[in-house]
């Protein structure tokens, strides 16, 4: 005998579940508007994300609660941000439905998409009212992107290799004893600006004169650095391949969680501060666009940011988020104006215009 249950049957469990979901919606800033003219729900929405601890944090903080509240499944597409970009651009240019609903992207990359005109305007998200100025993309009209947190390219190091304490300066990268045991991003991202200072140059000279940066990078090249992407840093630290890396603190933190003894610092030259954000490509059906916006709106609640950014160990854009254990006051977790004094912020517009030149120059040095 097969037991059947009417979907309309109101059991005690269903009632409590529904009440909890409604309570959750109300608590996270979902107003009655969501119920007044709610468009048809899609079966799922697709969010492009970075893998590993990055997607795990997003899932715990945003995707799973969103699904619990709306019943809409969230699928994470782990295609690299750089690889999804041309696919989205081509879909919009050809009038096709884009392959994703939401792109979790670097602000610089996202700005390129905004300049190309493939992003939806997100200015009408109610929860934007509760965000700090960090959420607003600089130099763009409205909100084609919503920045969701900031991060620092710290100098991560293995404490056992530094018995006298944290390295104070990037000049440590030139120490012969670390030859072959340092790592940078393979396009130099996060390193160009501190290298400019380490090479004796000024940040005000960016982008007109970056020769000091290239000169310093040439010296670093002689140290035979490993060049990779986010997951590589964690792997290299874990496998004992490197002692030093200029990387996002999240990657070092991930290796620490896996039992590797690591620490990080902001060197005297400073570290690059950057933001990531969420955006929606044009070309989605109206109902899917609506729910994609609701997803981003939900990502801007204190509750979502608290769990998501606890996982990443990064400062968010909504006041009231408690720093993860051990990160309050950490240089990789800037929240106060004082914290930003040691961090390097170059306007997005300059980065967008010149980034490919910097990548090429870095490659030319490292491939030579």
């Amino acid at each position: 005998m097969t037991k059947t249950t009417s979907i309309l049957a109101l059991t005690r469990r269903r009632f409590l579940g529904g009440a909890a979901a409604l309570g959750g919606l109300a608590a996270t800033g979902w107003t009655g508007r969501a119920f007044a003219q709610e468009p048809e729900k899609p079966a799922e929405i697709i969010v492009r994300a970075w893998g590993g601890s990055w997607v795990a944090a997003l899932q715990a903080g945003v995707s799973d609660p969103f699904t619990a509240a709306t019943g809409i499944a969230v699928r994470h597409d782990l295609t690299e941000d750089n690889e999804i970009q041309p696919k989205v651009w081509a879909a919009v240019a050809q009038g096709r439905v884009p392959p994703i609903h939401i792109n979790w992207d670097t602000t610089t990359n996202a700005t390129k998409s905004a300049l190309r005109g493939v992003t939806e305007d997100l200015s009408d998200l109610p929860n934007l009212a509760n965000t700090t100025e960090l959420a607003k993309p600089v130099g763009l009209d409205g909100y084609p992107i919503v920045n969701t947190y900031g991060y620092v390219y710290v100098l991560a190091y293995r404490p056992s290799a530094f018995p006298d304490g944290a390295p104070a300066s990037l000049q440590v990268l030139l120490d012969p004893k670390f030859k072959g045991r340092i790592a940078l991003y393979n396009d130099g991202i996060g390193f160009h600006f501190p290298a400019q200072v380490a090479g004796g140059g000024k940040l005000e000279d960016i982008p007109a004169n970056m020769e000091p940066a290239w000169e310093f990078i040439r010296k670093v090249k002689a140290q035979e650095p490993l060049l990779g992407e986010d997951p590589d840093f964690t792997t290299w630290f874990q496998n004992g391949e490197i002692d030093l890396a200029v990387t996002i603190s999240t990657n070092a933190r991930e290796a620490m969680k896996n039992g590797i003894d690591l620490a990080w610092t902001v060197p005297e030259e400073g570290s690059k501060f950057e933001t990531d954000g969420l955006w929606i490509p044009k070309g989605l059906p109206a109902n899917e666009l609506y729910w994609a916006k609701q997803y981003i709106n939900f990502a801007l609640t204190v509750e979502a940011q608290q769990v998501w950014l606890d996982g990443l160990g990064l400062p968010g854009v909504v006041p009231g988020v408690t720093p993860p254990e051990g990160l309050a006051g950490d240089p990789s977790y800037p929240t106060e104006p004082e914290d930003f004094k040691r961090l390097i912020r170059i306007p997005t517009a300059i980065q967008v215009e010149h980034e490919s030149d910097w990548f090429s120059q870095f490659k030319a040095i490292m491939q030579g």
Binding site: E80, N82, P86, L226, L227, G240, E355, S360, G368
Partner: protein, 314 residues
Amino acid sequence: MPTSKHAYPFRWRVMDAIEGAASILWPSRFSRGLPYLMLLPAVLLVMLLVIGMIQIAESSAHTLDRTTFLASEDYTGANYSQIFSTGLYWTVLWRSLLGSVIVTAICLVFAFPYSYLMVRTPSALLRKFLLIALFLPFFIGQVVRAYGWLIILGNQGVANGLLGLVGIEPIRLLYNYPAVLFGLVQYMLPFAVLMLAPALTAIPEEMESAANSLGASWWRTFIHIVLPLAKPGLVGAGLVVLTLSLTDFAMPAILGGGSQDFIANAIYDQFFRTSDQGMGAALTLILVGVGSLAVGLVFTLFGAGTLAMGRDKK
């Protein structure tokens, strides 16, 4: 005695009906066109590639407007000028060419005895073992194999572990040019064996026996009989390994530690890292051009080998 209605088996009559229908659809006067009809799918497939190449060529003539991140309207050769005036691209191109030639040479040297033993051994067991060892790597993708080498050759890998047993400190075996070439040789070797084996099978064993019975040593037989007759296989195998190595992406990306890019990695960077499709397209065309020139050179010097299907110049 009446003639049976079933003088022919039912199956024959079905075949007759099918033949009749086929002759209506494709009359016998069209029979000369049958080979061309069978060729059509392949030609269409190649045509699709040609159309893609035309689009890539068109794209390569536009630069990226960094205020809108759209391709410029004007046609220009600026992408090509930049490539030929930038040392990075010359370095990467030279590294790719040199690497593919080295990998091809090593693969041919290693593949020859393997193939020879595989086709000549009287032991069925050994032949089966060699065949299994040959095909097993095909079930493991290139990326997985490259990651396997990371585990084996890493600072805390098996190789350094063995060196540690004899008191040698861990040494950096990965993330350099030799590591990339090593990975490529390991990946390409089965292709070379597969291309060589049919050519060696086609050499009659009797010819080697005749040479031996006339007093030729094994070495002289190899030099004067086996090697010349195996030339078509060597050329075919060399061409396949050369072109695949020249265009390889994964091994330089994974085993090169970010500093040993081949031209395919530079193309990837332009398409996906800097969003400059015009520059990526220009590099793609240059790669196709260089690869075609290399193949043309081999054809000119050595003929097309087994790829000529017996119509090679004598």
